[in-house]
Amino acid sequence: MKKKIFIIVFFIFGLSQKSFAYSSDPKQFIQEIVDEAKKILVDSNTKEFKTEKLSEIALKTVDIKGVAYYSLGNYRKTLNDEQMEEYLVLFEKYFLKSFTSRLTDYSDPKIEVLTAEILNSKYTIVKSLLLATDKKPEVKIEWRVYTKNPNKPLIRDLIIEGLSLARTQKEEFASVIETNNGDITKLFVTLKEFIAK
């Protein structure tokens, strides 16, 4: 009997694990994320539900740590281990809030995944198109996919109409640090304020 239960539990667990596995092909990987997001971003779902589910997707598919390092630019070399640990925790919260907030206003988005361009062994750019609605024009979206581990691609940047969100974020962080005379702890304060609002 115990053995049977074990097999059933193992089978269910195995199935659920399988449903969380994304394709290793960058284009298919983005297609799966888009399909998953579409199901979440329907009118009938509450904003809280959308936020929770989009956060779950982001945690699995975005290289949040990589984006965190990138956003800090050369300033990351000035942090000690303790500060870096604090920064990474803050950044993840900031990123998830910012990322989900940008998306939850979209309702039933229609995105066509078009092509993939391999830049090198570490990066592939997947091109897609957010189709126009009555209110919004058509938007080109490129996904910078980190493929160093070919079995587990991760998103590192979204390039909307040629404008890189990660670069914008990086320059925003640099501005906060520079306007506070290079005091990086002021960035931490700003991130905490953003998370709390």
Binding site: D63, K65, G66, Y69, Y70, G73, N74, Y75, S98, S101, R102, D105, E117, L119, K122, Y123, I125, D134, K135, K136, P137, K140, E142, R144, Y146, K148, N149, K152, L154, R156, D157, I159, E161, G162, L163, S164, R167, T168, K170, E171, E172, F173, A174, S175, V176, I177, E178, T179, T190, L191, E193, F194
Partner: protein, 274 residues
């Protein structure tokens, strides 16, 4: 105050700012270059205090005037908005055509001229866009700032103009240059001349400002959600806008739709997380 006086005031403001820009470049190193934070973009911030103040002023003006007007415009039926946007774009394409020629880009110039001809006639003064269906796709707008960039001019200094918003030394010179090569400006501003080439007594300067104003409202209306999202998710909105403006200009000058082709990617290469 007549429109001509307002125009002169705008010119004087731009030229004063340009003089200030030049003196700041000559006299100081400006604020920290973006390259120090890992970016290869070397556009300097010359008088950030002034620019941040102008940004606040523009932002307040947007909230008080432009945003409500854009929201009102958004309430119009889609065909009316689309037709209005098309008419404005069609007129704007004449400035693009001048710049296509100045850049020596005759393929694009041909495409722009064909689009203008088809859309003005078959498209009923530009309300419709039959040219796209005939294979003459919109290839993007050009202005004199982009032409200067295509000729090799560096961006110079970044600053924010009252009402007109973010710019650089090169793009501010481009703003002035635009009026000399924009056929719509020349036709509406030289009403005393009517020689069949420049000037036309049927139009007045007002027509030009209505056209530009409508274009601005149409653009703002198309970007209500994007701007709201940027506002809500920025920890330094001024810096976000600056970054987006500079990225966008770089791309437009390169006539590229991809950031990968116009931005330096080396700062991504050194980050390894798995």
């Amino acid at each position: 105050m007549t429109i001509q006086m307002i125009r002169r005031l705008i010119y004087i403001t731009i030229f004063t700012l340009l003089l200030q820009t030049t003196s700041v470049i000559a006299g100081t190193t400006g604020s920290e270059e973006l390259s120090k934070s890992g970016s290869q973009d070397s556009t300097k911030e010359c008088f950030e205090g002034f620019s941040r103040a102008m940004f606040k002023f523009n932002h307040a003006l947007d909230r008080a005037v432009f945003e409500p007007v854009a929201k009102g415009y958004r309430a119009l039926p889609v065909p009316i908005r689309k037709g209005t946007g098309n008419v404005v774009d069609n007129l704007r394409s004449l400035l693009t055509l001048s710049n296509n020629i100045l850049q020596g880009d005759f393929n694009r110039a041909g495409n722009t001229a064909a689009r203008f001809g088809i859309n003005t006639t078959a498209g009923i003064l530009g309300i419709f866009d039959p040219a796209a269906k005939l294979g003459f796709e919109d290839q993007g707008k050009e202005d004199f700032g982009q032409t200067l960039g295509a000729w090799g001019a560096e961006s110079g200094c970044y600053f924010v103009l009252p009402i007109l918003g973010p710019t650089t030394t090169r793009d501010a010179v481009g703003l002035v240059g635009n009026v000399f090569i924009d056929p719509v400006y020349q036709i509406t501003h030289n009403t005393e001349i009517d020689n069949g080439i420049v000037g036309n007594s049927t139009y007045s300067e007002h027509n030009y400002y209505y056209y530009r104003g409508t274009g601005a409202v149409d653009f703002r209306a198309k970007n209500i959600e994007s701007w709201d999202s940027l506002e809500e998710n920025s920890i330094d909105l001024y810096a976000s806008l600056k970054s987006l403006y500079l990225q966008n200009r770089k791309q437009k000058i390169a006539n590229s739709a991809s950031a990968v082709k116009t931005q330096d990617d080396s700062d991504w290469e050194e980050i390894d997380t798995n």
